[in-house]
Symmetry: C2
Subunit: 383 residues, 2 copies
Amino acid sequence: MNTPATLADPDTPFAVVDVHTMRRNIARLKDRADRLGVTLRPHVKTAKSLDVAAHLNSGTPCPVTVSTLAEAEAFADGGYTDITYAVGVEPRKLPRITALSRRGVTLRVLLDSAEQAAFVTEASRRAGIPLPAQIEIDCDGHRGGIRPGDPALVEIGRVLHDDGCLDGVLTHAGESYFARTAEDQCLAAKNERDTAVAAAERLRAAGLPVNTVSVGSTPTAHAADDLTGVTELRAGNYVFFDLVMAGLGVCRVEDIALSVVVTVIGHRPEHGWIMTDGGWMAMSRDRGTAAQAQDQGYGLVTDLAGRLIPGLVMTAASQEHGTLTARDGAALPRLPVGTRLRVLPNHACATAAQHRGYHTVDGTRPARPAPAIEAFWERVTGW
Amino acid sequence: MNTPATLADPDTPFAVVDVHTMRRNIARLKDRADRLGVTLRPHVKTAKSLDVAAHLNSGTPCPVTVSTLAEAEAFADGGYTDITYAVGVEPRKLPRITALSRRGVTLRVLLDSAEQAAFVTEASRRAGIPLPAQIEIDCDGHRGGIRPGDPALVEIGRVLHDDGCLDGVLTHAGESYFARTAEDQCLAAKNERDTAVAAAERLRAAGLPVNTVSVGSTPTAHAADDLTGVTELRAGNYVFFDLVMAGLGVCRVEDIALSVVVTVIGHRPEHGWIMTDGGWMAMSRDRGTAAQAQDQGYGLVTDLAGRLIPGLVMTAASQEHGTLTARDGAALPRLPVGTRLRVLPNHACATAAQHRGYHTVDGTRPARPAPAIEAFWERVTGW
């Protein structure tokens, strides 16, 4: 694909990543993980891009987490050999998992039942390669997993261990996305750690070896101040951040590295609306900030250089139409048809998923007449 | 791509279209349009598929509506020569529009300002080909357009006419998606028609020729009983339908032709949850039924043959996790890890957009051991 010269060139809507901001976000969490003495295992489900991942560890493949086997395969092709597939495993996915293991990839699978442990160990025996498995631990009632006190924990651990498949435990503080204060996020991080460590200790007390004690979510990864007993930290959203994370105070609005470039296509002054060609197809239907103290609609609006336009919010979306309105008494700016803007997303994972890839800019460079595009980074798609 | 044998074969999640149901939906609206004496111009933004479109008019290209230039180009490549691009035009999109016109495609553009009329006529003069333009009319305050009584209407019409660009008027009753009763939908259809016809008459009274008087939305297209003065009807969603349309009474749940196949990956009996591998990445974040009398969560659940499982609803979603719960006192069914289910979407346009294409089945054929897959139909993506 030819790289157009500036953000004024590609047809809108399209996604853009400010690489300078992204690298700052990456360095921030890497430094934290180093200080906390744990391995950082970024979740690549947000960006789904080998080009983004090349910035995670100075170009050297690092341990990663994936949400689909398509990601696992693409990252294996890119030289990543230490991958955790952090969605509960089911039998029909075992052939692709086994195939990755045969290629020399350490692909860790996740499970929370004896039923799953049975078919994973059976597949391991058939393949002649132990598939490393982690037991999902529920730390906050958010989604899957078992509680550390559940008798099933040791039962599953034993089934896995008998076939050399027991790798460790994994938990995810999904409820931390609703922890509104820094104090609550610290408590969520402490609970996440304590729950994972308790599960590991329980397995060890039963004579079962636990290599990996994995925790993480973007809010808890930035709130944790002591990860004693934990071996690795996972987070995904932090690479781009978004308005939900800014609403939680995990980042500032100026740390959001992902935006969508849109064009003004009309005006309805009698309603106070500016219409754009960026609807939910470009932004996703995610309205995560609707549950926060400050609802940011479908996103905050900046000029093409990335400077916030005070009070301008994308408040409604059709498939290919966005509606911008002014709030807090701000005047609706005069923006002729053809004006390009950028919209900061509620949820970077969901907005990024609406695009084939990202045009990249460096927000610290001069933006006249418009920020220069440096590259196009493709995304991994499908399952 | 090889076509797997049955819905038990492709890795989940994936989208499936029941072609028998889809053809019934298509025939229903085609019959209505014939009876009403108007041209049907389907909006291909829902399915974005030439394979779906081949069923719209017995394999012969018919007039279509598109939401992106990528759709316009793909449909032009597929032999469609009569296309309306129903999103307000902006200057940077003119080169692709002009290129399609040079290929012999009648590509109608939409606008609602003198500013846009000026650059469309200028582009027409430069290209030496009049670009046919429709003036967007606002019938219900939903989105873009001008009111038929706005003095700008005749002004825009004159600018267009002077360069041979005036094709007609177009309106869309977007508020009809919130018209809860059949009576309200009839009123919305009548208002949509009356507004479009009033705008056309106003232009004609000023001596300006109006060829096209275009109306449509899926609810109003199914509610209209008299389209006197209208030349064409647009609708898109009706090909697949969805739970929002079923909630409005425009279709029945059994008319929904699109679903997503997912697999059970775990259980949380203490919460009453069944976990699947179909999250918002597979379903989209669209929760259109949340604003209706019956909130259907992220979707209603059927078995792999498409039979509704009473009371089972997808109530929560992470990126690659879905949570199913029982409601109305229904018992949570026993569904082992590995069980495949289908989820009916809130909003077909949004759910379809999460997938590269559709595996197709014929729901009237025997479904043992699982419905046979007949084909894979690709979607047009991007802008």
